[in-house]
Symmetry: C2
């Protein structure tokens, strides 16, 4: 069967399913379906080329577990591919189907179930901002937020994200102790519901929804401090970088993020231009309000100048937060000014990270603009991850730049690929594939995104021998 025939068949099946389940909220209008099929993959010229014409055939927006069960069961019976979507804020086409099918949009499955003693549980489709708004009165908030927290969902962060603001304290979302448990659904004619905890739950993390449908997440929370947002500017690259690391490490200072933006990146942040003198290197620093004095002490030691200071009330009143200028929002603000830019993602080596940042700045400065975010790794060591902005010329040069980074001992999480394993140095995790086998035996979830699925027979054989 060729692609066109296959597509036609899927459309017919979907018509049958819609007829079977009339009470579900269906979207079939082509423009809306297209919009709901896409995410921010256009940050990458490579992915933009590959995915610009990709879309699903319909979208279902179930409101409760029973509706999800009905839709998933029908897709399993009819053999319709199924791609789960949260807020659509990913960058690697995580929720864009390669070959049509149904988008299962979970954004209406969004209740906060409970918060107590530093733990919260919610339905996967809850927006991160809504979670925090509801949990903060109890004194708790999410540990990690991507810069897209206003739109992004908890299930989306788990399924396609890494961590973000907050990882400076708690490490990536995948570090033991951050995600405590999940409830997931199998893709079968009669879908089953399974509760997973600890490392088993994490087998569904960052798999782009290829190996299970996550319904609920139980996560450890962070105390919701009143936060103070600051911009600190420097004339000197090295002093700015050293100050960032000193702030990031200081154990007595409770912090949410430390972002380092080398010149000329601050120039792209047009909404903040009053606070970013021409040619400056800037830090964006979010600390607990009560630690302001300690932060200023360290900033003073490195000769930094604070040009922007907003306390929690001001942030709430203005709805402007520096979180929306950090991580990949930095890239977005730069892209708004210059569509010829793109970026890479990299992980500097603990202990050598500042040295590596300096070497690469010397080598590639001008073409690769330095942006790093400080964080703890899974094992707790402090380092920084980079999201350097690149003046894009060709795919070859982009790959060359990534190779130069690798040659300097810097890890690359390539954001110009769409296969799960390709963003992870090509490594196939057999346990992830075995989970897909259990949760999605017919291979209907987000097909084509998990390379390990193609060699499942090999993996099964190896497991049988072990």
């Amino acid at each position: 069967m060729n692609a066109a025939d296959s597509r036609l068949l899927t459309l017919r099946k979907l018509e049958l399913i819609r007829a079977e389940l009339p009470s579900i909220d269906w979207i079939v209008d082509d423009a809306r379906v297209k919009r709901l099929s896409q995410d921010y993959f256009w940050f990458s010229p490579v992915l933009k080329r590959l995915f610009d014409d990709k879309q699903a055939d319909a979208v279902a927006r179930p409101r409760d577990e029973d509706e999800i069960r009905q839709v998933v069961g029908a897709c399993a019976r009819h053999g319709v591919p199924l791609t789960v979507r949260g807020g659509g804020t990913g960058n690697y086409a995580q929720s864009t189907p390669l070959n049509g099918g149904l988008i299962l949009d979970l954004s209406r499955f969004n209740k906060l179930l409970w918060v107590r003693n530093g733990v919260g549980r919610a339905q996967a489709g809850i927006r991160l901002s809504d979670f925090d708004q509801q949990s903060r009165p109890d004194g708790w908030e999410l540990r990690c937020l991507p810069s897209t927290f206003r739109m992004a969902t908890l299930g989306g962060l788990f399924g396609g994200g890494f961590g973000g603001v907050g990882s400076i304290t708690y490490g990536p979302l995948g570090a033991p102790g951050n995600v405590l448990a999940i409830k997931a659904m199998t893709v079968e004619a009669e879908p089953r519901i399974v509760e997973l905890s600890g490392p088993e739950a994490l087998l569904l993390h960052h798999g782009y929804g290829t190996n299970g449908i996550v319904l609920e997440l139980e996560v450890a929370l962070a105390p919701a401090h009143p936060w103070l947002e600051n911009i600190v500017v420097f004339e000197d690259f090295d002093r700015a970088l050293d100050c960032a690391q000193a702030l990031a490490q200081a154990p007595g200072i409770i912090k949410k993020s430390v972002t380092f933006l080398a010149a000329p990146i601050p120039g792209y942040m047009e909404a903040l231009k009053d606070f970013l003198p021409e040619g400056c290197h800037a830090l964006m620093v979010i600390v607990a309000e009560f630690n302001e004095a300690a932060m200023k002490q360290i900033v003073g030691e490195f000769g930094g100048r604070i040009t922007y200071r907003q306390d929690t009330e001001q942030v709430q009143a203005t709805r402007r937060t520096l979180v929306e200028y950090a991580w990949n929002h930095t890239t977005m603000h730069a892209l708004k000014v210059d569509r010829g830019l793109t970026y890479i993602q990299c992980s500097f080596q603990p202990g050598r990270n500042l040295e590596q940042v300096r070497q690469l700045e010397k080598l590639l400065g001008g073409e690769v603009l330095m942006h790093v975010e400080f964080l703890r790794l899974r094992d707790g060591t402090l380092t920084c991850n980079g999201l350097p902005i690149i003046r894009y010329t060709t795919d070859e040069r982009l790959n060359e730049i990534m190779q130069i980074y690798r040659d300097h001992g810097v890890g690359i999480a390539n954001p110009h690929v769409y296969v799960v394993e390709d963003g992870k140095q090509g490594q196939i995790n057999p346990a992830v594939v075995m989970k897909k086998l259990a949760f999605d035996p017919h291979g209907l979830l987000n097909p084509g995104k998990l390379r390990g699925w193609e060699i499942r027979d090999q993996i099964i054989a190896a497991q049988a021998q072990a």
Copy 2:
């Protein structure tokens, strides 16, 4: 004037002061004065020899700021030496006067003033346990506790302590952001009250009350999680040590302490003997209850066996906490069994700490029993501090052991000396001396404990030139 005459003069002056201030709570009974003059210096055979016969001539126990002002003003006018005391739980004779005088016992000056938004302020004499008991209903507790928290005061911890349980997250008490401000009183005929914040406040930290009387402390707090106390046992030294570091580092696991006790130390913990199999190496691990699964995951990876598990309610009900088996309480339990033991304090080098622990265990095992506590340093790097227990033979051998540690690159904070600077590699901090000049111009506070005071003229001259 010889020592006896000087002592007699002090006694006469104290009689005058008592007559001037009859409403103050005075203690002059010799046995009670002696008890209130001493601390736990007897952990050290060296200090025991030096301080066993030392005591004050009287004790005053003021109840409010005005009473403190009256006593301090009178001492300044009459030239009576003044030694401040909290709970008397120090180990280096911090509050034992070398040459008599008055003990200013602040244990009745003990109100919690306020707690809000992660910050608390209290009078110096508040017991750490009372602070926590009052602040916990608001969801907050102290960041760092010594194992003596039931008796020790906040002012005492600041004046003579380091940190302790909690330093695994927040570093030592002296890391920027932990102590936000203090209120201190000068020793003058008309005592003045001064508020200090940030690094200036820290100039009075760990000075044994030699350079100012701290009245109030404003400290950043930690969220009061429900804590879970665990003992994990191992047959293998290396696996136990590796597991301890993995737990200590794990960024997603909220923790209060990770203690490593090599065999045969667990054998000294008689009250816990049911949970400590003969010859085991043991970890004591206190984590947030909701992170139990993540802790067990890591413990499992290293083959540890959990033999003891008490949740917050059980700890409250039994009033038994592992905090009172960690840090210097470990030493105390061992001393209860064998008075021929003593200890040293040391700081292993981040990145090389496990290697150093192993080397020294190989070299000195049997004579020096390994006990380490994991913590973050002032700059946030993770390492462990040691409080190894030593089978004491002679002072010479004790010094030799410390030298062997130093030769292996391990820092020693010698607990067998009583001069502030001698516990800090002999380094004189001119800023500390200048603070004493401002707060205690007549040198009446805890005389003989601050070496820098002896060369104050040199320091003043250098400051004038700078």
